[in-house]
Amino acid sequence: MTGLRDALLSRDETRLPGRRDEDWRWTDLRGTLRPLPAVSDAVQPLAAFDEPEGVQVRRFAAPVTAGTFDASLSVAAGETLWLLDRVDAGAGAYARDLALDITLGEGATLHRLVLAADSADAVSVTRAMVSLAPGATFHQTVLATGGKRQRIETAVAHPGAGARARLDGAYLLADGRHSDQTTILDHQGPGGTSEQLIRGVAADQARGVFQGRITVAVGADGTDARLKHNALLLSDRAEIDAKPELEIYADDVACAHGNTVGTLDAEVLFYAMSRGIPEVEARLMLVEAFVGEIVERIGPAPLQDAARAFVADQLEALRR
């Protein structure tokens, strides 16, 4: 599917996806890996991290040069799992392709938090393929800080049948970083709901990308699918690209999507400053509040705490 893995394994640079590929037009990998680094199993040491309690934690170490990784996970029928996937940063220019399979049994519940850190020079693609059984609940929150190119893709096969999916996310980008969150939500049967809320902030010369495609297949009648992306530009050299897409082939479908890109409200900033809060602090306070809504939607407290800590660390990077 993705060209990064193909390119790395075949050692053929022309297989890298680039801006001519519709789904990769804002995440051009061409020319970012020249020459293609050699694939090996060698990984970088994991950064220190306090693992929250009551949560299954998976750590994905960064490769030394280039690496392809796979992992799968299933939540049995009726079970509930809190999962934290930490994609570790490592140092230097590495290329990583991470493919994850997630299966939820009937009536199963999965709360998944993805903390995606990459180095400033990394080219990193993480793809999750999620398959839901009837009555399953899947809540995901992706927090990303970008790389040279960073793509986090989530594809959900949604059977309808009372299953619920929520795909939330936030990106907080400084310097020249790039981050792309792409979701593909496939409503395949009747009576399904899905909801997505993505918030993004791009400072300096950073670039944030959000692509959300919702398809409602023939027969998936009564589907309710909602998607919202709001982003803030913190500098006039930063860039946000967003593309929500709806393809509906069923009847009686409620679909709503919204997309806004703005800047911090100068009047609100002045109000905060007039109370004694210095400009830098006032900006960070408003950014934190903007992204905080994503964090507050996370149900399980240990996951919410981990998310809040991750955001707080990244706000420090925006301070500079």
Partner: protein, 248 residues
């Protein structure tokens, strides 16, 4: 305390304040009245340091320090507080968090120790009680979903906790019901002290029944065109601003 000397201010290249001179001694309360569009809010924003309010001439000093050279946060740390005519909403920032952040930022700027959460909460509770505010409301996003009157009360709540030295109240009475007007005025009067001065902008004599001014000024077309004692406000209430239209 506050000296404004021949101040000229333009907004979007349009002169709004045109040679305004005003002296506000420490411990005094001065009312500013004047027709719509006279420049009252422009004067308050200029004193608070809002961007886009370009000072093209004159000076404003607070205890001898050049106020106009400081950024808004530095002015606040020196004790300037503007109660906004239209307070802003900040979703996602609870009112309590906002005020505590502001208070500690000011204290830090003045080289004072921060106030810890328990002490702050204690003060906040007492202040909210005095202003008859629902404390739970203070845990919600600042001013989000508040009525116009509740927002004004929130301004006074912030003012009471920040303990500024120069208070500028821009139409704090507008939007308040009769009870709220009394409660808010009591809140303001509680802050009256020797070291504290107030500029009270209003259209209505009613507020000045509660907050008795030492002096009343008429601001018309960007200048102070008349000054007097509290009786001037009564006269304006009777006769309107007609006779100042020519003076302006």
């Amino acid at each position: 305390m506050l000296h404004i000397d021949n101040l000229h201010v333009s907004v979007a290249d349009k002169p709004i304040i045109k040679g305004l001179t005003l002296d506000l001694p420490a411990g005094e309360v001065h009312a500013i009245m004047g027709p719509n569009g006279a420049g009252k809010s422009t004067l308050s924003y200029t004193l608070a340091g809002r961007a886009g309010y370009e000072v093209t001439g004159g000076a404003a000093t607070l205890d001898g320090e050049d106020l106009l050279a400081m950024d808004p946060a530095a002015r606040a740390a020196r004790g300037v507080f503007l109660s906004f005519q239209y307070p802003l909403e900040i979703p996602g920032v609870p009112a309590l968090t906002f005020v505590r952040t502001a208070l500690n930022a000011q204290r830090k700027a003045r080289g004072e120790a921060e106030i810890g959460a328990p002490e702050f909460l204690k003060r906040a509770r007492a202040t909210a009680a005095a202003l008859k505010m629902d404390f739970e409301m203070l845990r919600r996003g600042l001013n989000v979903g508040f009525s116009g009157g509740e927002k004004k009360r929130m301004e006074i709540f912030q003012m009471a906790l920040l303990e500024p030295r120069l208070l500028i109240l821009d139409e704090t009475d507008s939007g308040l019901d009769i009870d709220a007007l009394r409660i808010v005025s009591e809140g303001v009067n509680a802050l009256r002290s020797e070291g504290r001065s107030m500029l009270v902008i209003t259209h209505y004599q009613r507020l000045l029944d509660y907050i008795r001014p030492d002096r009343v000024h008429v601001l018309a077309a960007g200048r102070i065109v008349a000054s007097g004692g509290p009786e001037l406000a009564l006269e304006l209430e009777r006769e309107g601003y007609d006779k100042y239209a020519s003076a302006a």
